[in-house]
């Protein structure tokens, strides 16, 4: 049970382009972020919303904290939170898509597989590989939950996920897997690694979202503060 907090806790990405874009987005809505303890501090505040405590966290810590109800609001990627829990829609209210941090989670196969254009083709190839090589098609990804759901939806059964936490696009060339599920923005990294996205291989068109944790400790005051904050952001809760 998260402890009762008198302030509305808001998680914002702590570094990188995502942090800059969050700051720009908030600033455009009259919400200037003031980092406590200088640019290396991990707390911040809004001068016009003193009852909001801002925590600067990694994108995945924000989503974990939202799912656990440890923070009330947060900005992070939809791909990250949907990968972390199959109960996302029960636990989280998606308040707004913010128009940045775009990343598509896609299924990509070697471009030399000229006979494979869609998931139905992939399903057949997976079955053929299993029959001829006695092992399942290996799919390198860090999105194991999203991949498994998507492959099941498309009736692909003869595959196995191989955990990959970085440089996933190199997995086929390195012999770690035959295909990948990864995020892409322009597709150029996939293309450079001789991979192509399947025609129906878009698993999730993700972007940064403002999210609310339904299971956080909400008091009447915090609900009121949240409503005011969202109004300030010109959003409908």
């Amino acid at each position: 049970m998260p402890k009762t907090n008198k302030k509305l806790i808001f998680g914002i990405p702590s570094k990188g382009r995502l942090k800059e874009q969050c700051e720009e987005w908030l600033s455009a809505r009259g919400l200037e972020l003031h980092q406590v303890g200088g640019s290396r501090g991990y707390k911040a505040k809004f001068s016009n919303f003193p009852n909001i405590e801002i925590r600067l966290l990694s994108a995945s810590e924000i989503t974990k904290s939202l799912l656990l109800g440890e923070i009330h609001l947060g900005i992070s990627g939809e791909d990250i939170i949907r990968e972390q829990s199959d109960r996302t829609d029960d636990l989280i209210k998606f308040i707004a898509k913010l128009g940045f941090g775009n990343a598509d989670v896609v299924v990509a196969v070697p471009n030399g597989w000229i006979d494979v254009a869609n998931m139905a083709d992939l399903s057949e190839v997976a079955s053929e590989l299993r029959k001829s090589r006695s092992h399942r098609l290996r799919v390198a990804t860090k999105f194991t939950r999203l991949s498994a759901e998507f492959f099941q939806k498309h009736g692909v059964i003869d595959y196995r996920l191989v955990q990959s936490d970085g440089a996933t696009e190199g997995a086929p060339a390195n012999g770690v897997a035959e295909i990948i599920v990864d995020i892409t923005t322009s597709g150029s990294t996939l293309f450079a690694n001789n991979l192509k996205i399947l025609d129906d291989g878009l698993i999730l068109a993700s972007q940064a979202n403002l999210m609310l944790a339904k299971s956080a400790n909400w008091t009447d005051t915090l609900e009121k503060d949240c409503a005011e904050f969202i109004t300030q952001c010109s959003l409908n809760c």
């Binding site: 000229i114 190839v125 092992h135």
Partner: protein, 370 residues
Amino acid sequence: MGQSKNIKIREILAGSGGEWVNLPSLLPASIVLEMAGESLRSRLYFAMSPDGEELCLRADLTIAAALKYLNEAKNTAVTYLCEGTVFRASPAHENRAVEFNQIGIEKFGPQDEIAVDVEVFLAALGTAQTGKKNELAIEFSDGGLIPKLLDGAHIPEPWNQYLLDVAKSPQALRRALAFACNPKKPPPTELGMSLLKLDDDAATAEVQKFIENADFQTGFARGPREIAQRMKASTQRAIATPLDIKFSRAIDELLAIDDFPVPAIAKIKNIAKQLNEDLSNWADAWAKRLKLMEKATPGIMENTKIIVGKSGRFEYYSGFNFDIFYSNQRETPIASGGRYDGLIAALTKGRSQAQAMGVVIRPERIVDTQ
């Protein structure tokens, strides 16, 4: 009370011999997922070995027992009696126990298939009957039925092999049948049509040339030969006469069978006949199995159904399989068992074969009579 119930279950299971064995709790995750399929992943608990190998806590006793058999008793006939905690994460929106005790029998090696099917089933039924007897219900299925039916059903090519490849999954089979029977298929590609006129070597060379001209990369587990073969096969399917809808209807009818054993077998035989397949041997084996069960437990068939399209089984179940429930609790079987003759071959990539049959009991689900 729990202890004495477990003692009774152990005594019943040990009635047909065998040795009590300890099985490892941690298994290589790659082996478990390769055998059971990725649908199990969301139910597994993972751990990392010090040298970086991904492990998982056992989700059942079967794979652990099969690994023990391969390591210690390959090619002999053994009966393992096993008991221990297994671990399965609860699906979202369900509040299931995530670790629970299972007691089971796993029989590997040369065996009289029907006799062992019956022996294991009756042992499981005996354990279930240590609790409330009157409300027991039984479901039978046969993981080998649909592949067997399709194999002998004189389905015209290219559809026969296409359907056989997905026969183990009712969902994939329905999808493949819908495609095969659809008169409006996407047109074949120009390259595919040109490959049809070539022999395998020439088609391979053509595909190689196409890939090089496009500056694509070859390799990645599938070379130009595999690609050319598949393109020829899919082109043949694109221009082939659609499969007669009667096949699709017959398979749908088959998958929908949920009936008492005798009428269910009659229906299955009748459907097979429509597809020009003679399932007499298969039906005789089932009749023998049922007769032995009925003889040992008169009246048991009144509470038993054969459900052809039964889902939820691990992929390695390849023959007769069963669940024993309380009739008002069909989601939570007391005992689940079946034949998995393909598991040892799958674990060894075909280097070893062994017949195998097993069952696990969930003691806490047996409701005491007192």
